[in-house]
């Protein structure tokens, strides 16, 4: 291309000749040149814009096309990508520590009706009432003949009932699949498991949600598909739990008690091996909660966790163990336990008006002297006593994995004047659940290291805080052993298992204030075997009375201690504890058929 000069000489000369301004020629040429440059720039910008709009159209077109495809296509499960079988039940099983099933799911059906599609509504209603006697025919007739287009009839039906409904041959009766929660062991561990019910319901499926106990506490975990159907393994042992419930039930009958509770806990880990509360219920058919009256009368009430009882003399070991830990007393220190003792305007008496005079610290525990314990508690002072009980966990609800745990908050006195400090020392004025007591006894028996009760098997826990020196803890267990050897707990002795424990009989407080004269809660808290504590058993009977040789008796030594002994006798072999016997059985030589002796080198 030939570039046009801005000032072409020929034209300039010509312009000069004619007297025109040569600058006008330059300006015209410059303008022409600029116009060309502008035209070129516009062209390239247009091309760029064209490509840009193409790219945008392509991108939005792709998105739009994908949206169109998604909107118009039929949904289907990805069949090729799924690896492995993904079909798992919607709620995980619950098993005991050996994998025996405590709660599982069962596929059943629900029954619903579309009354508008019914051919013979009256006949269908008649037949349905014949199959399900609990339905009302008037109600069904009203539902089927009205304007309703959908009616639930039954939430869960058995296969036989389903077949019978099929045989009615009514097209308006329809079935929806349901997963139902099943507790195959019935009443066993009912309070721990709780129960389940249907949440959001639909024709095709229904949500199963836990309503109490472990089912509610682990509701999210049990329904989490990320667990891939892994069962929830509890620390319970089904055999031990069943044996304990049986013995406890019999004990409750023999002792004419209103209720009973027992907790068996592993000391080293805090795992609860068995926990029962009677009366109980069937979690497959959970009763409705009481709307009026005392909730503790309902079978739903879990005495072991929710009960708030003044646990009586079982508390005496705590001030004594603490005093030994602080080196204020030794087991042989003599303490003046002359009854009655006066604190302010209150008199502290011994059980049945005894007067023990001067006792050693061991004998205070063995004879369960109120006055002696109060004297030891006075050596400690209210602040230190309260701190120790707080460290043992008596001020907070237990952290056990049940939905009821927060309701078991102990009733603790707000202020600690001298008289409160004295009564708490022998277990009155502070109401805690039997589970609190079990945890505290486990702490003492665990060499003074704090034990947290748990229901989950093999959960790694941090080591507890040291609340008592191992030496003081060992002495405390030895004192408890003395109670069973020669004290109030003699009836709890089980040959070979070195039971160490403490009885506690506490008058029940009236709801109106004051105490009942003839209603008690008798508790036996024990540790076995004393030489190497493995398990804690806390057993509590509500309003027991034993008719023995000496007439009626309500003391724990006559009521809960023998029941506890029976529990230990039944349960200890099941736990694999070998009895320690003094006389060994002789070894028998096995006669061999060829009369040869095998020798191992």
């Amino acid at each position: 291309m030939i570039r046009t000069p801005l000032r072409p000489l020929a034209r300039i000369l010509r312009a000069r000749e004619t007297g025109e301004n040569p600058d006008a020629i330059e300006a015209a040429n410059r303008a022409q040149r600029h116009a060309v440059i502008q035209e070129r720039a516009r062209g390239s910008a247009r091309t760029r814009l064209f490509f840009m709009s193409c790219a945008f159209a392509l991108a939005f077109g792709t998105v739009g096309a994908k949206m169109g495809v998604l909107a118009s296509s039929q949904p289907s499960e990805p069949r090729v990508q799924t690896t492995g079988a993904q079909i798992i039940s919607q709620r995980a099983d619950i098993t005991d520590r050996h994998g025996r099933v405590l709660a599982t799911n069962l596929l059943t059906h629900s029954l619903y009706a579309h009354p508008q599609q019914m051919v013979e509504p009256e006949r269908a209603a008649r037949e349905l009432v014949r199959i399900f006697p609990d339905l009302e025919i008037e109600r069904l007739n009203k539902d089927f003949s009205g304007k309703r287009s959908f009616v639930w009839i039954k939430k869960k039906i058995s296969p036989e009932q389903m077949q019978a409904v099929h045989d009615i041959g009514e097209p308006g009766l329809l079935f929806g699949p349901r997963e139902m929660r099943l507790y195959p062991n019935g009443h066993i561990a009912a309070h721990i498991l709780g129960g389940a019910t249907f949440g959001k319901e639909d024709v095709a499926s229904a949500e199963v949600v836990g309503v109490a106990g472990v089912e509610k506490a682990f509701d999210h975990w049990l329904r989490d598909p990320a667990n891939d159907g892994a069962p929830l393994m509890l620390s319970l042992d089904l055999t031990v739990q069943a044996a304990m419930e049986e013995v406890l039930g019999n004990g409750m009958k023999v002792m004419n008690a209103k209720g009973a509770t027992g907790i068996l806990m592993e000391i080293k880990t805090g795992e609860i091996v068995a926990m029962a509360s009677l009366p109980d219920f069937d979690p497959n058919d959970r009763p409705r909660p009481l709307l009026k009256g005392d909730p503790s009368d309902s079978p739903l009430f879990n005495r072991a966790v929710q009960g708030q009882y003044e646990l009586g003399s079982t508390f005496k070991i705590f001030p004594v163990a603490q005093a030994i830990d602080l080196k204020l007393v030794s087991p042989t220190t003599m303490i003046n336990a002359k009854a009655p003792m006066k604190i302010g305007k209150y008199l502290i008496n011994e059980f049945r008006g005894h007067n023990y005079g001067t006792l050693s610290v061991t004998d205070i525990i063995v004879k369960s002297s109120n006055v002696g314990t109060v004297r030891v508690a006075q050596l400690l002072g209210a602040d230190r006593q309260r701190d120790f009980l707080e460290k043992l966990g008596f001020f907070e609800p237990t952290l056990i994995e049940m939905s009821e745990a927060p309701t078991g908050k102990p009733l603790v006195p707000k202020r600690w004047p001298a008289v409160t400090s004295a009564t708490v020392a022998f277990g009155h004025g502070l109401a805690a659940s039997p589970l609190h007591l079990a945890a505290a006894y486990a702490t003492v028996a665990n060499g003074g290291k704090r034990v947290m009760p748990t229901l989950i098997h093999d959960r790694s826990q941090r080591g507890g805080e040291q609340v008592l020196s191992p030496e003081a803890a060992r002495i405390a267990v030895q004192m408890l052993r003395q109670v069973v050897v020669r004290g109030s707990g003699r009836s709890a002795n089980v040959e070979g298992y070195e039971v160490a424990g403490k009885t506690g009989t506490a008058d029940k407080p009236r709801p109106t204030g004051g105490y009942y004269g003839n209603k008690v809660v008798s508790t036996f808290a024990s540790v076995f075997p004393a030489s190497d504590p493995q398990y804690v058993l806390v057993l509590s009977l509500d309003e027991p009375s034993a008719i023995g040789a000496g007439g009626e008796s309500r003391t724990a030594g006559a009521t809960s201690a023998p029941v506890a002994a029976e529990v230990i006798r039944r349960v200890a072999p099941l736990l694999g504890l070998r009895p320690s016997t003094e006389t060994q059985l002789p070894m028998v030589e096995r006669p061999l058929p060829d009369r040869l002796k095998l020798v191992s080198n």
Partner: protein
Amino acid sequence: MRSVLYLLTALAVMGLAFWAYRENYRTQAAISEMSDIQRQIGRLREDLGVLRAEWAYLNRPERLRQLVDLNFERLKLVPFGSDQFVDVGQVAFPAPKAPEPATDPETGADVPVERPAGYPPRRPQESTP
């Protein structure tokens, strides 16, 4: 030359089309077989759940206790007690019986027992009591 090339190309295209057609159908068959198996696994899992529930239900401690009571005459089962812990050395074994006289090889028990068709032949340790 060129026509041969065209012919070969056309044949190759036809062959590839046939192969793709077959692969497509084989894939679809495999997918539907897989979903069948998945469904079957689901059904079997359901059955397994029912069987596990039934097993747990039949082994519930209450029923076992009833069975023990019913069969007490024959079995004489009592709860496991602490006196049942013994070492193997403390158990008295019965004295061995005198060895039986050798059986006649011709009429003896060493003749292989006739088993129904489809069963493997009896292994020697199966016949020892």
